[in-house]
Symmetry: C2
């Protein structure tokens, strides 16, 4: 029995309702549904995992996979809440998330951008619907999951598939929305605004080292970890 | 006639009263004083340039050089004030400062560290005596100087001399003072603390790509610019 939750379907970005590359999420969903395992897979697209699990009485899940979802969370406290609600229902949690580490210089702009989006989110009065609202590092993820009684069994940094365009999209968007975002910082102190501006400039300047500039940006590395109950 | 001001002598760090590599500041001062030009050079070590210039009635300076001083400023508004006070007394301003850009992966930790120190400074109730309190990008420096009626004539990014240890010192110190700095963040919101922690983790993880880790950190590139009055 497999249950899949997708933030993308809960909150489709208006400009890009079926995002994803090299395959969109709806292509991936069709592919999964029409596979041999398709009949055993349910997609839950209109309920959060915490709400779903609060009334769940079925058998435990062999594995719970959190795949590139943490960055979407509106605050760092959501991860431990989610883990707490999962804990009674599984013995294994597998996580894949961006690592805030790039082994190539083409991925450095993506690292800086994830940090800048998270900083901007921390200044907002009203939560955004952005793709990156809470970039947590592997160490922060391990702390949060470990704090709910889980122990890491195995972890690794892996290169992002070259076809993934997330790094390019995020860097392009953070550079392109600079003026609008700066206008939204009214009320934020002079020193804090200055360091955000410096961060934007550092991102733009990191593109100097990338062949074809923003078009040549690669994704940072992916961190994967497997947790078992202590 | 040459006047030299040094922040280092005004505010000697306790642990390292004569900092500098490959030569300390006092070695550099002796070298300059004993040179052929020595008799024409004055060191002003106990007065700020703004105070000095407020009563200065001598002939204009041919060049004013601001060499790696901006990062020490306690806030981004000090640079335009300094430029304003210099403007009546010279026709050329030459600036050298860290660029927030690294052409080597060994310099990326220095870029991230300069941004993190500046973020930490922006949260302090009481100004620190840190080496990096206000990292401004070349674009921010050009805006500030340009805003006082100066036009950039020439600019370049140059590799930092391999003997310079500033990058190593700053990265070592920001990593080593993490616990103390985190304790100082009481009262700062959860989201802002989380992104600062993510920044520290990104710095530590950027050391994975550096041979010999923190010991192998290089300085980021230096930005140099020459300004003339409009």
């Amino acid at each position: 029995m497999i249950s899949l939750f997708s933030h993308h379907f809960l909150n489709p970005p208006v400009a890009n309702p079926l995002p994803g590359a090299p395959f969109t999420l709806s292509q991936a969903q069709s592919h999964i549904t029409s596979s041999l395992l398709g009949p055993r897979i349910s997609f839950h697209l209109s309920i959060s995992p915490v709400n779903y699990l609060s009334t769940y009485t079925g058998p435990p899940y062999d594995y719970v996979v959190l795949s590139h979802c943490i960055y979407y969370f509106s605050s760092p406290s959501i991860l431990p809440s989610l883990i707490k609600s999962l804990t009674p229902h599984t013995h294994s949690i597998c996580i894949a998330e961006w690592s805030l580490h790039s082994s190539s210089k083409e991925g450095v702009p993506h690292v800086l951008t994830a940090l800048l989006w998270t900083m901007l989110e921390s200044k907002r009065q009203v939560e955004s619907m952005g793709n990156i609202r809470s970039a947590l590092s592997p160490a922060q993820i391990k702390d949060a999951v470990g704090g709910e009684g889980w122990q890491i069994q195995k972890e690794a940094l892996v290169d992002a598939n070259e076809g993934l365009r997330d790094g390019y999209w995020e860097v392009r968007d953070v550079v392109g929305s600079r003026e609008r975002e700066m206008r939204g910082l009214r009320g934020v102190g002079e020193k804090e605004v200055a360091v955000l501006a410096a961060m934007w400039d550092a991102i733009e300047s990191s593109l100097l080292g990338v062949e074809r500039g923003v078009d040549g940006v690669r994704c940072m590395d992916v961190w994967v970890g497997i947790f078992k109950k202590e």
